[in-house]
């Protein structure tokens, strides 16, 4: 996929739009946006978006491939679904945001240090391993994701909460070893693997 933005006057081609339609979850809805902006106004973390959804849609139509895929914006999505229920054109905006984030990751051009990006990856790895989430490890990894020293800080910062959770039995040290898991790990993992292969076959060529 060539970088379209470098061509000075080759804008507003649908190449990137078509790429999004083909490869991004619910991407074929992007063209239906009429730029009313109700999604952008409805987002709880809206002010933290460099480019709110409706603007991303316009950028996609304008062929701004890298600016879109490298943006941190869609990683700001809290999945509150306000945008979806309010969109007058029934765009599944939440899913498109997730889809764009995933597609950027798949292409390896996502903003690497974006914390939600990191947490989301941890979460997936965590559940993909055992089929169920191991909250303790999830937490531990989360705190240490930006390196050990910083991790200690965060961990200490969160210690109070961790303690509280432990005391109330809502976090269990048992999770350190073993912990929750599906019984049919093999089948589970095979299923995930298969799904990933099928998807890759669809997208990567």
């Amino acid at each position: 996929m060539t970088d379209i933005n470098t061509g000075m006057v080759e804008k507003y081609r649908n190449d990137f739009l078509k790429e999004v339609e083909a490869n991004v979850e619910e991407g074929d809805w992007v063209k239906m946006c009429m730029q009313c902006g109700v999604c952008s106004g409805s987002c709880p973390l809206g002010s933290d978006w460099d480019h709110p959804p409706q603007e991303l849609f316009m950028m996609i139509r304008a062929g701004k491939r890298d600016e879109v895929l490298q943006s941190t914006s869609m990683w700001m999505c809290t999945s509150c679904y306000n945008c979806i229920v309010r969109c007058p054109r029934e765009l599944p905006i939440t899913h498109i945001m997730h889809g764009l984030a995933h597609y950027a990751t798949r292409l390896g051009i996502e903003p690497k240090n974006q914390p939600t990006r990191q947490f989301a990856q941890l979460f997936w790895d965590n559940l993909a391993k055992n089929g169920r989430v191991n909250e303790l490890w999830l937490g531990v990894n989360l705190y240490f994701m930006n390196g050990f020293v910083n991790g200690i800080k965060v961990a200490l910062g969160m210690a109070g909460i961790g303690l509280g959770m432990l005391k109330t039995g809502r976090l269990s040290l048992k999770e350190l070893v073993g912990g929750h898991t599906v019984k049919d790990k093999k089948g589970f993992q095979a299923m995930i693997k298969k799904a990933q292969e099928l998807e890759a076959a669809r997208i990567d060529n």
């Binding site: 000075m8 507003y12 081609r13 649908n14 739009l17 409706q54 603007e55 304008a62």
Partner: protein
């Protein structure tokens, strides 16, 4: 109608009239002062019994002039409508008891008010005749349709379906007009998702199969004379032969001219072959006929195209169109679909500032366009650079950045210019004067469509943006030329779907005009009025004011300069009557006397009685209803007021003003409709004209050495009840200040 006049006066005592007024006194006034031969009272005059009582007198007593002294002329219209008699209404309810407090010390003045209204009604009655059609009229069901485009064809097909023979006069060699030049049209049926066939072929077939429709191709109207019911049209062919046919009414469906894109130098239209108009794209699409559309310059198959909306429209810039042509957004969506339907990989971008696809169909079509992958970008194009491929420079308003985009083809959504024909003589004069001031020369650049043989000009007056539109919202078909109705884009910019609807409406109005002209009945707004203006020519000074001031071009002049009234062009507003300095113009049921004698009939007390008289001449369409509604809401105004409704302020004769001044009225108020650009006068110019005339009254007052405050003219809208009351009471105060008129005898 009976030979000798017999006035029957009928006084109602209902609705509190009887409690508030001395009906015996009223009866005496009617018989003694009003010379009513018959006078009866009723406690419930509008009841079946009451109405029967009146009808009996008409049938058995020979009463032929009926005076109803009850409620406003706007109330109980159905009950008080009698055949073959004149009808006058003394408004004792809304005009007297409802606007006066029920207090003993007011009884005297209130009674005087009522007595005067009886006198006035009787006076009016005395001078009214039962209007009869002139005999000038004839029934002619033939409809002349100028223009053979989709609007004209629709008008013809639909009028014919109703049994009215039509003649289409088409300038070109074929029917179909602009629509025939379209590859496809904007959909007019659910689900409004795809372009539709333009439908011309079927329409042509229908017309050819219809013996009721005559088509004259390569023809123009070289002269249109006459009036509704008896139009005489010269239909001339290119070859020069002329045939004269007569018609009952006319539909003008002369369509539009595409805006000249050569004015758009910023978009390199004249420089680049690959910058084209929507009309030119239609030609390319027809050539491609479902295949790949090739661009003009090098025949390359178009892979990306940009549509620039509002090109030369919605702008006050010199040479641009100020209006929005309404159809171009949908047209660009349709044209982008030409590309997308043929090959979804072609990039189509529509550059718009407001996407205008109203209604159910419009929004569906917009969504359908998006589904097909048309890209809509809110932006303003500043320039199209001519190079191998045109480069569009625009500001993307959403992404807030200046963009340059190189495309294969640029389509300019230029707008519609009306084919409304020549402006009127009046409009031309105004334009010439404006030009003179600007130091230029004004020449009429357009051809006439109708070539009317009217002294007022060759075509219908132009309205906003040069279209032959109606000014009225409630009456979209009301032109200033009776029996002629504009349809389609010559009236207002519109797409095919709207044009077809519009043409049906215009056909309906044309049919009505033809039918009513045949019966000698007036057209809107005094529908079915049989009266018409006549003049005592022996008194006429050929001053031409009547012909000049008639808002509807109803009056011609003969070679000697005497007015020739065309009854069926006339709307019965009476502006000619008001214009006539020698008072020779009148209607059977509305004349210098029917009003003049009313104001004379009012009893003017001696100066020292301290009972001034205020005359109110109120337009029957807005001011009079406003007064009625003030009464309905029990607002009081001065007991010295005497109100006379007039058809239009334009019908007010200066003689009424001078007469009333001479006979001792202390104040005169004229109430007409708002005039000017957004005029509300149902006779277009009536109230404006009246105000011009009144501006000259000041001098007359001078000569009588009277204060100018004594005569005042106001613009009143129907809702302004508070205002009318205030105006009257202010006049009463003014009179207290400046004192009574010295002209009381």
């Amino acid at each position: 109608m009976a030979d000798e006049m017999k006035i029957g006066a009928y006084i109602c005592n209902g609705c509190g009239i009887g409690d508030r007024l001395d009906s015996g006194q009223l009866e005496m006034t009617a018989t003694r002062d009003g010379k009513a031969a018959v006078c009866q009272q009723s406690d419930f005059l509008c009841s079946e019994a009451g109405v029967k009582m009146i009808q009996d007198d008409i049938d058995n007593e020979g009463v032929n002039h009926v005076v109803i002294a009850a409620c406003s002329r706007r109330a109980k219209i159905e009950a008080f409508s009698f055949e073959n008699v004149t009808l006058s209404r003394a408004n004792l309810r809304e005009g007297v008891i409802w606007v006066r407090p029920d207090e003993d010390d007011q009884r005297e003045t209130t009674q005087e008010m009522a007595d005067d209204y009886i006198r006035m009604a009787c006076a009016e009655s005395k001078y009214m005749k039962v209007p009869a059609a002139s005999g000038q009229q004839e029934v002619n069901k033939n409809i002349l349709i100028a223009g053979g485009g989709v609007s004209g064809m629709t008008a013809a097909i639909e009028a014919s379906k109703a049994g009215y023979p039509c003649t289409i006069v088409e300038k070109t060699a074929a029917l179909g007009g602009a629509t025939a030049q379209l590859y496809k049209k904007i959909p007019t049926k659910a689900p409004y998702a795809d372009p539709q066939d333009n439908g011309i072929a079927e329409m042509v077939a229908t017309i050819e199969a219809d013996s009721n429709i005559t088509v004259c191709l390569n023809s123009t109207l070289t002269k249109t004379a006459g009036a509704p019911g008896r139009f005489e049209a010269d239909i001339s062919t290119e070859s020069g032969s002329t045939e004269t046919k007569s018609f009952g009414a006319i539909v003008q469906a002369s369509g539009f001219t595409p805006y000249d894109a050569n004015n758009l130098t910023e978009f390199s239209y004249s420089k680049s072959q690959d910058v084209i108009t929507q009309a030119e794209l239609e030609a390319l699409a027809i050539a491609a006929d479902g295949g790949a559309i090739k661009r003009p310059s090098d025949g390359k198959e178009v892979t990306n195209v940009m549509f620039i909306q509002c090109a030369g429209q919605r702008s006050k810039k010199e040479g641009h169109l100020e209006h929005c042509s309404g159809y171009c957004c949908s047209a660009s969506i349709k044209q982008a679909m030409y590309f997308k339907d043929q090959n979804p990989d072609i990039d189509t971008t529509v550059l718009y500032s407001d996407l205008r696809t109203p209604g159910a169909g419009g929004e569906n079509f917009y969504r359908s366009g998006q589904k097909k992958g048309i890209i809509f970008t809110k932006g303003i194009a500043s320039e199209v650079v001519h190079s191998k491929n045109p480069i569009v420079k625009f500001k993307d308003l959403i992404l807030d950045e200046e963009v340059e985009d190189e495309v294969d083809l640029v389509v300019l959504a230029t707008g519609m210019v009306a084919n409304a024909g020549e402006p009127t003589r009046e409009q031309i004069t105004i334009a010439e004067n404006e030009a003179k001031e600007a130091g230029n020369e004004y020449t009429v650049s357009v051809e006439s469509i109708l070539n009317l043989d009217y002294r007022q000009g060759k075509d219908m007056p132009h309205m906003d943006n040069g279209f032959a539109d109606s000014h009225f919202i409630c009456f979209p078909y009301e032109t200033q030329r009776t029996g002629m109705y504009a349809a389609g884009p010559t009236r207002r910019p519109m797409d095919i779907g709207q044009s077809m609807d519009d043409a049906m409406g215009a056909a309906m109005k044309a049919i009505a005009a033809a039918e009513n002209a045949g019966l000698g009945k007036a057209a809107h707004p005094r529908v079915a009025d049989l009266s018409f203006p006549t003049a005592r020519l022996e008194g006429c000074t050929q001053c031409k004011r009547c012909t000049v001031e008639c808002p509807f071009g109803a009056i011609d002049e003969d070679e000697k300069g005497f007015p020739q009234f065309n009854e069926s062009r006339c709307r019965r507003c009476g502006t000619c009557m008001g214009a006539c300095p020698v008072r020779v113009i009148s209607f059977d049921n509305y004349s210098i006397d029917t009003v003049g004698q009313q104001l004379k009939a009012v009893d003017i007390p001696e100066e020292f009685d301290e009972k001034p008289r205020i005359l109110v001449l109120a337009c029957e369409n807005d001011a009079y209803p406003a007064l009625d509604m003030a009464a309905q809401n029990k607002m009081d105004y001065s007991a010295f007021t005497r109100v006379i409704p007039v058809r239009c302020l334009g019908s007010v004769s200066l003689s009424w003003i001078t007469d009333s001044m001479n006979s001792g009225y202390d104040g005169i108020i004229l109430m007409g409709c708002p005039s000017g650009d957004d005029y509300q006068c149902h006779f277009v110019k009536g109230s404006g004209t009246a105000q011009e005339r009144m501006s000259k009254v000041a001098d007359t007052l001078e000569t009588l050495s009277l204060e100018p405050e004594r005569v005042q003219t106001y613009e009143i809208s129907i809702t302004e009840s508070d205002k009318v009351v205030k105006i009257i009471n202010d006049m009463a105060d003014t009179i207290e200040q400046i004192g009574m008129s010295p002209f009381k005898f």
